[in-house]
Amino acid sequence: MCFTNAPKEGRSWFLGLGNEGSSWFPSLGQEGSGEVGTRRLSPPVLSCSYSPMTQIAKKPVLVSVQNLCKHYGDLAAVGGLSFDIFQGEVFGLLGPNGAGKTTTIEIIEGLRQGDSGSVRVCGLDPAQESLSLKERIGAQLQSTVLPDKMRVDEALRLFAGFYRRSVSVETLLERFGLKEKRHTFFEKLSGGQKQRLALALALVNDPELVLLDEPTVGLDPQLRRDIYVLIERLREEGRTVLLTTHYIEEAERLCDRVAIMDRGQLVALGTPRELITRSGQGTRLELHLAKPVGLERLKVIDGVIDCHEAEGAYFLRAHPPALTIAALVRFLESDENALLDLHIARPSLEDVFVEMTGRRMEP
């Protein structure tokens, strides 16, 4: 399958291009030549092979956060947060800056202490058993800084030496594409190479749990995709991953389950599909027709929730979309009208966020 990514702003306008695994657009997926509209954007989320919630839930809980609170002065960075992370899943904390994601992940890492509530990671208390815990987890900071003149292989060798169990440096260099940069000073690495080194350092002790704090922040789209591939490989290896992000696309593509956070609160929790389905936002259809048609007539088509017109295009929210599209085709045939262009956009996690908070998720 070949997928391209959603636009950076996270608006998932796309066409259903051969989405065999999708139950959302079976007919378009089969029929579509790949060129129905002008944009060739496909939903990355559809490419994910979700672990069904029932399967995940059977696995042991690796991270348990219960009623976690953390205040900085009067500011409640985290207010009563609760969730569990099961072994083998990629769990995402999604939210805008200031949502409390980093504070939460740092409490889980044992770098900070919560004011109240309980946190257990790999059966340990991060606040009390920090050193033991650090043997079992690997973490990547939002921004990793090493001494300027430290070489890549030196950094890996140094950090590998801190743990009882470690992965060979050669393996890490190979895996993260750093072999040619092994003798390069940290100051000479590009942003992407620094992030790859940071990821390699997070895995230097072959951890059970990998914690990634905004692993792709500040990287260009290509570098982000490289990092996605690396994280997907972690999932394939069966590692448990907790990542924070404010990129919708990242959460949708990488995470088995997502906790959406805002202002220190948990807004929603579930698989991306569950969240989107629950949101009731409906799929967005953008139609360009040969002849104008009244909005009242479109509103009565099966499955249409609402519609409006702008700049010669008709925008429909529909659920289920397959029913609406079939009805729409019949309606246009009977009306002797023609469909010039059609864009279909599945609702995104951002729509969920907007629905839950009434605000857009500005990074």
């Binding site: 770098l111 650090k134 043997e135 973490a139 800084v145 003149k149 030196e154 950090f159 801190f162 000073f185």
Partner: protein, 467 residues
């Protein structure tokens, strides 16, 4: 083991940084050449005396700027955060910093020593082990200083302010820049509260006078204690991240770090002759440097330290004792050689006797006189000082100039010596102007007068010198 790994890598990183290389290895040589070349004029014994301040300066610099500032920089830059994710505690990080600092210090001192011996022909009066112990103790103590400042300072700017305050104080008031015997007594007393004073004076006594390390165990002990305090504070107040701030209360607590120096300072100040060691090595340096072909600038200002006197009889010939027994009264006195002398010296002089009441309720007296040759051309002389102890009687010391000298009143000072050695200074205004000193070859007379109520008396004197 992790600490050793980090330390070794830190050293490797320093070797890759030109600026760090310059300040670690070359910059200290600048001071050696300045002290040995410009101040000591290349005289080997003076170089040996100056070697202590140069090494102390270097050790201080590495503690304050090498370790202290580097620690704050690591925190400010955020590089400590990555280490924090590994199973490492503050102890590992601090030990690695200490170790790296120490391992970088050793070759620097070795380089200084090499240059001092090869280029300036400094006599090596100290064993390698002694030198290593001195350097180790000094490095540890000042590492404690640097780490304490790094722990207390919230920002780089704050650390620099603290560093500069402490650095310049120690630099100018503890014998690192100016030899302590050249400084006023008040400053000398203040200097006893500074750790660099102990390190400089220990270095000078050991490297220039070949004294044993054992003789300086109190100084070494205080330096080790202060290093331990610094390390403890650094461990307690260690911060991985720049966002973490230290409270004012914790800052005040860190003041406990100076406690060993306060105790030591008070103890040193209450000791009889705290400055004897400094004067001794300084005088030795001056005397050594005044003989031999290269001696030219420094003049001895020692009047009498009794070190060259072998017997009491010899002493009696130098010091003329007179009493009122000459006038038919019964006061008697004699001088004798006392061993040991004031704090660490071999000899001192004891004036002991019995004071009889004078006729018709008049007081008896005893006087001991010594002829002093005043250096004709010496400038910057302000008086005479000596170390003394006694029996809480009132004693008086006067200086009688030769005829044709100033007609101002005789300089005199009364003092009540206690059981412990202490320093006494007699300011002499005439000394300031060589023209007022009288005939160049005419001796002055230093007179020690015992008077007051009848009874036994004992007065010890040592280290009599111009200042």
């Amino acid at each position: 083991m992790a600490a050793v790994r980090i330390a070794l890598l830190t050293i490797r990183l320093v070797m890759r940084t030109k600026v760090a290389l310059f300040f670690t290895f070359l910059f200290p040589l600048v001071f050696l050449f300045a002290y040995a070349g410009l101040i000591a004029h290349g005289r080997p014994d003076v170089v040996a005396y100056m070697f202590g301040p140069v090494v102390t300066l270097n050790i201080m610099g590495s503690g304050f700027f090498g370790l202290g500032i580097q620690s704050v920089m690591q925190r400010e830059r955020g590089s400590l955060r990555r280490y924090r994710l590994a199973p490492l505690g503050p102890r590992t990080m601090l030990l690695s910093n200490l170790l790296a600092n120490y391992l970088l210090e050793l070759p620097t001192i070795g380089l200084l020593l090499f240059c001092a011996i090869v280029i300036f022909h400094m006599p090596m009066k100290v064993g390698w082990v002694t030198l290593l112990v001195l350097v180790t103790v000094g490095t540890f103590a000042f590492a404690g200083f640097g780490l304490t400042i790094a722990s207390v300072a919230n920002t780089m700017q704050e650390a620099q302010v603290y560093n500069n305050i402490v650095w310049f104080t120690l630099l100018f008031l503890s014998g690192v820049t100016f030899p302590l015997p050249m400084l006023p007594r008040t400053i000398q007393r203040l200097a006893m509260f500074f750790p660099s004073t102990y390190l400089v004076s220990s270095f000078q006594s050991i490297t220039a006078q070949a004294e044993t390390l054992l003789k300086h165990w109190p100084e070494m002990l205080v330096l080790v204690i202060s290093g331990c305090f610094g390390l403890l504070f650094a461990m307690k107040l260690f911060r991985w991240e720049k966002e973490e701030r230290i409270s004012t209360r914790a800052k005040l607590w860190s003041g406990v770090f100076v406690l060993p120096f306060l105790v030591m300072g008070v103890w040193m100040n209450t000791r009889a002759n705290p400055t004897a060691t400094w004067s001794r090595s300084y005088n030795a340096m001056e005397q050594d440097s005044s003989v031999g072909p290269s001696a030219k600038a420094v003049k001895p200002n020692l009047i009498e330290d009794f070190e060259g006197v072998q017997t009491s009889a010899e002493l009696s010939r130098r010091w003329r004792v007179s009493a009122d027994s000459d006038a038919a009264n019964h006061s008697v006195a004699e001088v004798s050689l006392l061993t040991p002398g004031a704090e660490g010296t071999r000899h001192a002089m004891r004036l002991k006797g019995h004071l009889a009441p004078g006729p018709e309720n008049a007081q008896g007296y005893v006087a001991a006189r010594y002829e002093v040759q005043v250096p004709a051309n010496s400038e910057c002389l302000r008086g005479i000082e000596f170390e003394t102890r006694g029996d809480l009687r009132v004693y008086e010391v006067t200086v009688q100039p030769p005829r044709a000298a100033s007609t101002s009143p005789l300089p005199a000072i009364r003092f009540v010596p206690g059981e412990a050695w202490e320093g006494v200074r007699l300011p002499i205004a005439w000394l300031a102007n060589p023209a007022d000193r009288g005939l160049p070859d005419a001796p002055w007379v230093l007179e020690v007068l015992v008077t007051g109520p009848a009874g036994e008396f004992t007065l010890d004197l040592d280290e009599i010198r111009f200042y």
